[in-house]
Each structure stands twice: as C-alpha cells, then as structure tokens.
C-alpha cells in the first residue's frame, strides 16, 4: 500500500482487525499493512492457524473478502495484493487436485504451500527486525547531542572587522564613480495644457483627426493625457466625435 507510506504508526495501536459481530456484517478497522504478505500473516493469526499447515481455502476466502472490502472503501489496490490473491487461488486449486500417485513416499509429494510458507517465514523475520529498528530509533530519539558550535565553516556571517568593512566600502565607492550618470528628464504636460492645445487645434481647423493628433505625441504619459483630454472636451464643450465608417478615422468636429 504505497499511499500509506508516509504515515507514522505505532506497532501497538495500529493493528488492523475485523469486528465480526454478525457474520454478515463485517466491520473493518483499517490499519497499515506493509504488503500482501503482511495481510496474509495477519489473517493466519486471526484464524489462529498454524503457519506450517495453512488452511488455504479458508485463508483465501478471507483474503479475497478483505480485498473486496478494500475495493469498496475505494482504496487503490496495489498490483502486489492482486498477485497474492492469484497465488492463493493457484495453491488452493493445486490442493484440490489428486496427489501424484507415482510418488513413492509421502516425502516426495511437495506441498504446494511450501514456497508461500517460506516466504511468510522470511517476511516474518524482517517484520520483527523492522520492529527492533522501530524500538531502537524510539530510544535514540530520546538522546540529544550538543547544539552546533559556531565556526566560520557553518556560519555565513563570518567575522569581519572595521577594516574589512572599509575596504568593501571603498570598492563600492570606486564602482559608483565609474558609473555613467544618465539623467532622464520627464516631460510633464498637464491635463489643462493638453486641453488648451486640443481646443486650439479644433477651433482653428474646425475638425481634427484623432489618429493624426495621437501620432504627434511621443510618450505614453502624453498619450494618456491626450486621451483623457479628448474625453473631457467631448463632455464639456460643443465638440463631437464622429466616425464615418466602421474602423474608419475618428474625427473631432466642432458643432
């Protein structure tokens, strides 16, 4: 179950279990299974079965029941869980087949469960080892070492004296000197001035092509001021905006 990877857990608390009050109504308390082998071990424990003599039919049923429950709970089922289900069904069907008659003694009949048993035992060992690691790290988290000692290596603000500061300051001054000073003069034109210009132009020529007027202007600031001036003049004076055709020239005309 890959999605449960980052969750913290407690070996004592998070043990999944079925609450089987009535056989038809299985309530499931979901814990964390680290994989299909883990689930299988849990089910064998649940059934109080012997690991060396797994009741395959029963365990397979339980396993499939669990997988169906996980599905209905909308848990994305990892492929590994499905593979185990297939393995169980395979073993179950093998066990239903009549034993090899040709085998001479009991010993030669290989238990179809053997491989699974070996895997379960191996997994059990590592599960216990994981528990040991868990205990170790828990103890270790109760141990503290001294905090970091400040050294030049781990401190970004390393020691600097007044002379270091002075040297840096002189460098900055030198760099400053080399810089070419570029002075930018902002040409200010007020709305009142723009209105005055506009009015003059309209009343002299009776009409004014807006596109031409705007083309004479250079800066963004002037254009904005001119635009506002146009709106203002239309609103306040006897001037109207006309356009003879769609997308045609817009002309300011004295009424």
């Amino acid at each position: 179950m890959e999605q449960a990877e980052q969750l913290s857990f407690d070996f004592d608390k998070v043990q999944p279990h079925f609450n089987t009050e009535s056989p038809d109504d299985i309530k499931l308390t979901l814990g964390e299974f680290s994989g299909p082998l883990d689930l299988l071990l849990f089910l064998i424990k649940q059934e109080r079965a012997n690991i060396f003599d797994i009741p395959v039919a029963k365990i397979t049923d339980e396993y499939l029941k669990y997988i169906r429950l996980m599905k209905s709970l909308d848990i994305a089922l990892a492929a590994d869980f499905i593979v185990m289900a297939a393995t169980l069904i395979e073993i179950k069907s093998k066990m239903l087949l009549p034993r090899e008659i040709l085998a001479e003694s009991e010993d030669e009949i290989e238990d179809p469960r053997q491989e699974l048993i070996d895997r379960l035992l191996e997994h059990q060992k590592f599960k216990n080892a994981a528990e040991m690691l868990y205990e170790r790290v828990t103890i270790e988290q109760a141990v503290f070492r001294r905090g970091q000692i400040e050294t030049d290596a781990n401190n970004t603000e390393t020691n600097a004296n007044v002379f270091d500061l002075l040297t840096v300051f002189q460098k900055i001054l030198a760099r400053h000197k080399e810089e070419v000073q570029l002075e930018i003069h902002r040409e200010e034109i007020s709305l009142a001035e723009m209105l005055k210009t506009l009015r003059k132009r309209i009343f002299e020529a009776k009409e004014l092509n807006l596109l031409q007027f705007f083309a004479e202007l250079h800066t963004r600031r002037e254009l904005v001021t001119a635009f506002i001036a146009v709106l203002e003049i239309v609103r306040t004076e006897s001037v109207k905006l006309t356009q003879s055709a769609t997308f045609g020239a817009i002309v300011l005309r004295k009424i």
Binding site: M1, E2, A4, E5, Q6, L7, S8, F9, V14, E32, S34, G35, P36, L37, D38, L41, I44, K45, R48, N50, I51, A78, A79, D80, M84, R119, L120, L121, E122, H123, Q124, K125, F126, K127, N128, A129, A130, E131, M132, L133, Y134, R136, V137, T138, I139, E140, Q141, A142, V143, F144, R145, R146, Q148, I149
Partner: protein, 183 residues
C-alpha cells in the same frame, strides 16, 4: 608552531583532552582522528577513552559517552528527554512508516540489496519507501549489480548508524534471532 620541547602528557591530561575533543566534534569522532590530533598512538587513546567512559558511568550524570557509527560521542541520557525536549522546544521526529522500516530492515540485513531482492522479501513494490529512506539519508546507492537489468544496489549509511544508535552493523542482532514463529 611548537618551538619548545614537547612535554610528555600525563594520562589524566590525555583523558581530559579526549573529552574536550569528543565534546566539540560535530559527529562521532574516531579513535584514529583523536590519535592524530593528540599525536599519541591509538592504544593510548583507547585507554584514555576507557578511563573516561568509566568516569561517565560512575558519575551517573546527565551525560553519557557512547560509541556510535565507529566513533565516540557525548550525548544526554535518555532519562531526561522530557526536560531536554521542553527546553529545546522540539517534538520527536515523524516516525518512519511500517513499509519504510521493513524496507530498511531488509536493506540493513541484506546489503547491498537491490529492488527486486527487496520485493521478493516484502512481497510489495518498495519504490516510495526507498525514496523516503534516500531522502532521510538512511540508505545510499551502492552502484549497480552486474545482473539482468543492472538494478541499483542499496546499503545503509553512516546516518543510519547514528540515528539507530549503532556502533557498527555487527551490533545488529542476527536475523535468525527474529525467527519467532507465527502461532
């Protein structure tokens, strides 16, 4: 620059210097490194550590001297973790998931271990557990195995020893000891 003749140090002096060095070292400090700094032989340093270790045990103070990840380290005793934590205003780190711990156990015992080998034991894909362990620097990649698919091999790191309080890998109990049978 030592101009004057070096005076041979007394044992108690060496013990004190060893303690000072272990205290300032950021990581567990090895006998080899201590010997180099002190310009004494390893045996002398080991004797000094044994003496120092005895002092710590007899005193039963707030600190302990431990051998971790092949070096020596001074740390607080576990008994006082509540108070220390309260002072440091820290909480225990997020614990590893069961999947990550299991994967770590497999790598610790089977190293160098490949992903297919881990899959065989755990019965589940362990890619994200491995990523978690790599992110936490508990495991390191140890090159590729010369087999089909040339899978990457993983082993435990020095951080693993430090975080799990191990002197070295041999301190891990034998995997056969975990063979308790499912009832």
């Amino acid at each position: 620059m030592e101009i004057e003749e070096k005076q041979p140090r007394s044992i108690s002096e060496i013990v004190s210097i060893v303690e000072a060095l272990i205290f300032v070292a950021d990581e567990p400090i090895t006998v080899k490194l201590l010997a180099e700094v002190l310009e004494e032989d390893k045996e002398t340093v080991e004797a000094a550590i044994a003496e120092l270790s005895g002092e710590y045990d007899r005193r039963e103070g707030g600190l302990q001297l431990r051998e971790i990840a092949g070096g020596w380290q001074i740390s607080t005793r576990t008994e006082f973790h509540d108070e220390v934590r309260k002072f440091l205003k820290t909480r225990p780190n997020a614990k590893l998931s069961l999947a990550a711990l299991e994967t770590l156990a497999v790598i610790a015992y089977k190293q160098p271990a490949t992903i297919p080998e881990i899959l065989a034991i755990r019965g589940v894909q362990s890619a994200s557990a491995i990523k978690t362990l790599l992110d936490k620097k508990l495991i390191v990649a140890k090159g590729r195995k010369e087999t089909v698919g040339r899978p990457m091999q993983y082993g435990t790191s020095k951080d693993f020893l430090i975080q799990f309080g191990l002197r070295d890998l041999s301190e891990l109990p034998s995997i056969e000891d975990f063979e308790d049978l499912v009832q």
